[in-house]
């Protein structure tokens, strides 16, 4: 990591407190991946378009590739790793992705899950058009999106919710 002009960074990631010395220019995505080893957050474009790096910043979706790590000082971040704390049990949305074949290479999937987690929290019963609208913030080259939309439909119609 870069050494010059380090700043202290204190933040909460997936419920745990972290403290690190970082260079101001370090991108939040790089800090999460390299600094904390949370490699589930993927980097696809580094200009805020593809959405693969989407995380929750104080509960709201944000692109970690166009934020500085130092901006997270004093804030709470959730990454894909928070959706399944034991790393094995899938939450209903993850389970629906598996059932509906809502992922292929899986590279864009973490960003999509984080985007949809916030979306479904705010809109528990969206229409298909609303789902596609929310999903249009994330690029996927493999799925053509259809099975992702189906996965969301499974969750929103699930009696568990």
């Amino acid at each position: 990591m870069p050494r010059r002009g380090l700043m202290i960074l204190r933040l909460v990631v997936n419920g745990g407190n972290h403290e690190a010395d970082v260079e101001p220019r370090l991108l939040l995505s790089d800090f999460l991946r390299q600094g904390l080893g949370l490699t589930g957050t993927h980097v696809g474009c580094e200009h805020g378009v593809c959405g693969a790096c989407t995380i929750l910043f104080d509960g709201e979706p944000a692109r970690s590739c166009i934020m500085l790590a130092v901006q997270a000082d004093g804030h709470a971040i959730h990454t894909i790793e928070s959706l399944s704390p034991d790393g094995i049990t899938l939450n209903p949305l993850q389970e629906a992705f598996r059932d509906a074949h809502g992922l292929q290479c899986g590279f864009c999937t973490p960003g999509i899950l984080m985007t949809l987690s916030a979306f479904l929290r705010d809109n528990p019963a969206p229409s298909q058009a609303e789902v596609r609208d929310a999903l249009s913030a994330n690029l996927c080259r493999c799925t053509g999106y259809q099975h992702i939309v189906e996965a969301v439909t499974r969750v929103t119609r699930s009696p568990l919710r």
Binding site: M1, H42, G106, T143
Partner: protein, 778 residues
């Protein structure tokens, strides 16, 4: 077929998903090693120029920079990369192989060509040092336009060649000139299909670690073909193959360009890692990806079709130029695919096809999903539409009149396919697919409503296009199937996987043969330490070729299981049942043994075994088809065009396809959806725009437009199954099918809505606006 098909042909959810959904799956860029160094490249800003000076001295002095390499530092290692795919034996074929070097020497030939490599303590620092390298280039005129490239005074991409022609190939069947003389109507047009990017969401990444004590090199690489990369790098580095391990773990989408390219970065990172005795990683960024990762699609066709008055094809002639970019390491796979796929599902008695591959000062061209097939389909389907219009025959009807009937298989087209085998269709049944697609989209009703659809601001059009696709080509793949002491099964194969679901489909095949649960079959792909024979994932061949190898290996293991169980249980083999992870004697519930127990018995620790006994319940098998199998299908779509804004919305999309026997319909649908989205991208959104000096003007996701969830419609898919005779399960490939007829169907639908003529793909609102204006002016 498998003894009991419980999983094959079932909608089985994927074994690999849990890791991907929780963020645990390891992609190459996720690998972190102590002391890891990072790389940035100094790349050419000029499309064409003489390299006067490259000076890395200042960069070397920058704190945090460990090494700076230019061509002069490479010595013998700087020689050009190998030709990856030698051209097939076609008589009269001319091919000038010119491949890239790891770093530019003498000349730069495309924007983004690597000139110097910087190794530093972080990627941030390496990028800082890029500015420090002094590069002096004397710019030359760039070769951009395909026709201009072949004119006498054109600048030459490779000075040692007489022209920019990289290859010339003629293939003929019958006598087109005679057919033309007999024809009632000739339809002739010029068609273009412009460049696009594969744009996998994961950029490329290479990480190499040289273990000085063990003298072993481990390379993590986002490649579709780890074994050829291992073999090629070992030989180039002067190591034995067993000293090199290439791992392609989870790979974030391939779509063609992650094939065994021996990209400059792929050659240099391992080399530098040995030199510096440090682990080194290069992670491509999105901007680099637009220049440094290979692209596809640029072709210019002058084509004509000769027909009878009642719409029967007498022959087709096509002359086309193929843009191969600055180098041609991948040979002629793409244009030969174009040449062969153009014939489609039709009876074309006379065919004359000629192409010239052209060097240009643009990024190297290698196959991208579809790999030239969509161009052929675009040309023949467009010609049929134009002929239909000229002859006053319905578009579906003219296709029906020309389809090959089910009695025509195997059908020999009498020309050579890219796999060096004659172009022979193995099996197919085309007419029912066309009828089903037309019925599903409501074609007849839409035709009746044509006048109404073409009025008002929002105009509606319908398009319907057919295709065939050569898939599942050789040479071979292999697999090793092992029943482990736990009773669980492990399958290792050489192909890489980039999201296709190999972890699951191979497991399905093996689980059926061995009577185990699909979750109990662990598939390992893409690690040369696990399996070291095979070629890779390309040409829609993974399931058909490697899947067949898995099947063969599993069948062999099953024989061992049955033989051993027969002796242990004292029963005739034909009375044994292999199911539920056990072998049981039919009708005697107490005479049963688990696979775990059998595996233990097959590997005794004491005592004696009979001479010739192979230990374990394990087998390795290989499969190589005589030739590829031919998938086929029909796509139909309805579009709505706002004639005031030239914006197009796809309202419905129907796919009727035939990929032979299906292992997993859920995954096949996923492949089709993704292919269609990619095809719609190529039809309306995605175009790499180069200016006249070879500068790429849209090297970002802001300007290079991948379709999003609001651009891709729901896709209605119907499967038809005509098994292939060329492999035991009857499989054909499906990975590329979705994107092959999409452009042709889209052009036809928009044309139908607006009553204009569309000859160029990709279309865009801007291009469509011009066409609408021109039609209004006429």
């Amino acid at each position: 077929m498998s003894p009991e098909a419980r999983y094959v042909n079932a909608r089985v959810r994927r074994n690999e998903d849990a890791r991907l959904l929780t963020g645990r799956a390891r992609f190459v860029d996720d690998v972190q090693l102590p002391g890891l160094l990072h790389v940035a490249f100094v790349r050419s800003e000029h499309a064409h120029g003489r390299l006067i000076k490259v000076d890395g001295a200042a960069a070397r002095r920058r704190p945090g920079v460990v090494a700076v390499y230019t061509f002069d530092d490479l010595g013998e290692y700087g020689r050009p990369a190998p030709v990856l795919v030698p051209p097939p034996p076609i008589s009269g074929l001319v091919f000038h192989p010119r491949t890239h070097r790891p770093l530019a020497s003498g000349k730069v030939r495309y924007v983004g060509e690597p000139i110097a490599m910087i190794v530093a303590e972080s990627r941030y620092l390496a990028e800082d040092a890029v500015r420090d390298v002094i590069v002096d280039v004397d710019p030359l005129d760039a070769v951009v336009d395909l026709e201009a490239a072949l004119t006498a005074g054109a600048a030459r991409v490779h000075d040692d060649l007489e022209s920019n022609a990289a290859a010339h190939v003629v293939q003929r069947k019958g006598d087109y000139a005679a057919a033309r003389d007999r024809a009632d109507v000739i339809v002739a047009r010029r068609f273009t299909y412009d460049r696009g990017a594969a744009a996998a969401l994961e950029n490329r990444c290479v990480l190499a670690q040289w273990d000085r004590q063990a003298e072993e090199l481990t390379i993590w690489d986002t490649t579709q073909a780890p074994i050829p990369i291992r073999n090629g790098l070992a030989s180039r580095l002067g190591l034995s193959e067993s000293q090199v391990r290439v791992v392609a773990p989870f790979v974030g989408g391939g779509f063609g360009p992650k094939i065994m390219m021996f990209y400059p970065e792929e050659l240099l990172v391992p080399w530098a890692s040995i030199r510096l005795a440090r682990p080194i990683k290069w992670t491509e960024d999105r901007q680099e990806n637009f220049f440094a990762t290979t692209q596809e699609r640029g072709q210019l066709h002058d084509a004509e079709m000769a027909l009878t008055r009642d719409g029967r094809i007498l022959g087709i002639r096509d002359t086309f130029l193929f843009d191969t970019g600055a180098y041609d390491p991948y040979g002629l796979t793409i244009p030969i695919n174009t040449q062969c796929t153009l014939l489609g599902p039709y009876d074309v008695p006379n065919y004359s096809s000629e192409f010239t591959a052209v060097f240009t000062n643009k990024t190297i061209v290698t196959p991208v999903r579809g790999a030239g097939r969509q161009h052929g389909v675009f040309v023949s389907e467009r010609l049929l539409d134009l002929a239909a219009r000229e002859l006053g025959i319905d578009r579906v009807e003219i296709r029906k009149r020309n389809l090959l009937g089910p009695d025509r298989f195997p059908h020999n087209h009498e020309i050579m396919f890219q796999d060096s085998a004659p172009l022979v269709y193995d099996s197919g049944d085309y007419l029912p697919a066309l009828e089903q697609a037309a019925a599903t989209i409501g074609y007849a009703e839409l035709v009746r409503q044509q006048a109404q659809r073409r009025s008002g601001t929002r105009r509606v059009g319908v398009g319907i296009a057919c295709y065939v696709e050569g898939t599942g080509i050789g040479p071979y793949e292999g697999a090793r199937v092992t029943v482990e002491l736990s009773g669980k099964v492990r399958v290792a194969t050489g192909v890489g996987t980039q999201g296709q679901g190999h972890y699951t489909v191979f497991a399905q095949v093996v689980a059926d043969v061995l009577g185990v649960s699909v979750e109990d079959v662990q598939v390992i792909t893409g690690d040369t330490r696990e399996f070291q024979w095979g070629t890779g994932t390309f040409a829609s061949r993974g399931a058909a070729v490697a899947g067949s190898a898995c099947h063969a290996a599993a069948m062999s293991v099953r024989e061992k299981i049955v033989a051993l169980a027969a002796s242990v249980l004292g029963a005739e083999p034909d009375r044994l049942e292999v199911a539920g992870g056990r072998v049981s004697v039919r009708g005697a519930a107490d005479r049963t043994i688990s696979l775990a127990q059998l595996a233990a018995r097959a590997n005794p620790l004491r005592g004696a075994v009979r001479p010739g006994t192979e230990p374990g319940l394990e087998s390795t098998a290989y499969f190589g088809p005589d030739r590829g199998s031919t998938a086929s299908g029909v796509h139909a779509m309805i579009v709505e065009v706002d004639v005031e804004t030239a914006m197009v919305e796809v309202k419905r999309y129907v796919v009727v396809h035939d990929c032979g026997r299906i292992i997993n319909p859920l995954l096949v649908e996923g492949q089709i959806h993704g292919g269609v989205a990619h095809g719609l991208g190529n039809a309306f959104y995605e175009q790499l725009v180069y200016d006249e000096q070879g500068q790429l003007l849209n090297a970002s996701f802001m300007d290079y437009l991948l379709p999003t969830a609001t651009d891709v419609p729901p896709i209605e898919t119907a499967h038809r199954e005509t098994p292939s005779p060329f492999n035991p399960i009857g499989l054909k490939g499906v990975g590329e099918a979705g994107c092959i007829p999409t452009g042709a169907a889209f052009a036809q639908a928009v044309e139908d809505a607006l009553n204009i003529e569309i000859l160029d793909i990709p279309l865009s609102p801007d291009r469509l606006f011009r066409l609408i204006q021109q039609a209004a002016d006429r």
